[in-house]
């Protein structure tokens, strides 16, 4: 079964870049995309997602709300947060919610994503 990846980001450009980078490390991959939080939650509820790359700053339902809702609904998705909002306060809030395995600053480089994938045993 292909590796199931969800990229949640309101920027199409960022989704495309992330898709390209992750696909270069994990070739057999099934990519779902969401441009806002509500769709992100719908995908998480309906599919088995191996890994989600999540932007925090999205319109209406933001990344924090996505994480809180998943936690409240007991849906476990390994999540790498990719955000421009790289402040101690944001990191602390995300850590408090839980479920996040890495926190990357935008724009993520291939090296940053590779390291996060290695650290969490998605690739060797």
């Amino acid at each position: 079964m292909p590796f199931s990846l969800l990229i949640a980001d309101d920027s199409k450009m960022s989704r495309n870049k992330i898709k390209k980078i992750v696909s270069s490390f994990i070739p057999d991959i099934d990519v779902s995309e969401a441009g806002e939080g509500k769709k992100t939650l719908d995908i998480c509820r309906s599919k088995n997602i191996d890994l989600m790359l999540l932007d925090l700053n999205m319109p209406e339902v933001d990344g924090y709300q996505v994480l809180r809702t998943l936690k409240a609904e007991n849906i476990s998705v390994a999540t790498i947060v990719v955000t421009a909002n790289y402040q101690r306060g944001s990191i602390a809030e995300v850590e408090e919610i839980g479920g996040v395995i890495a926190f990357l600053r935008k724009p993520p480089t291939p090296e940053m994503i590779e390291q996060a994938l290695k650290d969490n045993n998605f690739i060797s």
Partner: protein
């Protein structure tokens, strides 16, 4: 006239989003508090229509920090906010209550420094992602009647020394609020580029969109 496609609009919004995030991080370190951001909203509008558009979204009196830059991109970046909010900014920075008419040089200097940090963080992120290089001039603090300030800033004549400027060239306006504790600075960042700067900027954006 340069018109951006939907994909370019998306890429520019994301460039601003990342840049403003870095600016908030810098501001957060300065005020030692978490700085929350609204989701940035980008408007691309023709230069000659920009003053009226901004005026509709502003109070009668506005304050601004303006910073010019030269390099691969030539232009001006301006952070606008309502004049009364400059007091909020001083309160956040100096943790003091100050009436508007008694803003001292020191307090104005503090505002210019915040503007400097925010605009430079935005410019630095922008140009780094576009693989470009610019050098900024010293920032200026502007305050006064919204109409007069905007007319001066957007006049093609006033700014013609920066390169060819067309009245229908696009201007980038990013609406974004910075919030700390109970304070919110509602404002917008405007990026004005001359003709060559716009062409270079577009080339950089197209490169980002390459598969």
């Amino acid at each position: 006239m340069i018109k951006f496609s939907d994909d370019e609009h998306d890429a520019i919004t994301e460039l601003f989003n990342i840049s403003v995030g870095n600016a908030a991080d810098s501001l957060s370190k300065m005020v030692e508090e978490r700085v929350l951001l609204s989701v940035p909203h980008l408007v691309l509008i023709e230069r000659e229509q920009a003053p009226n558009y901004i005026q509709k979204h502003s109070s009668d009196r506005i304050s601004a920090i303006q910073q010019s830059f030269r390099g691969t991109l030539d232009g001006t970046a301006v952070w606008f906010f309502q004049e009364e909010q400059s007091l909020e900014l001083v309160r956040i920075l100096l943790q003091e209550d100050v009436p508007l008419d008694s803003l001292t040089d020191f307090e104005q200097d503090s505002m210019v420094e915040v503007g400097n940090i925010i605009l430079n963080a935005i410019l630095a992120s922008f140009t780094e992602m576009l693989d470009m290089d610019v050098r900024s001039s010293l920032p200026k603090f502007l305050s006064g009647n919204c109409h007069q300030l905007l007319d001066k800033l957007f006049s093609t004549q006033e700014n013609s020394e920066a390169g060819e400027i067309k009245a229908d060239d696009p201007v980038m306006i990013l609406f974004v609020d910075f919030m700390t504790g109970e304070n919110a600075i509602k404002g917008y960042v405007v990026l004005l580029l001359d003709g060559i700067g716009l062409a270079n900027f577009r080339r950089g954006v197209k490169k980002l969109l390459e598969p």
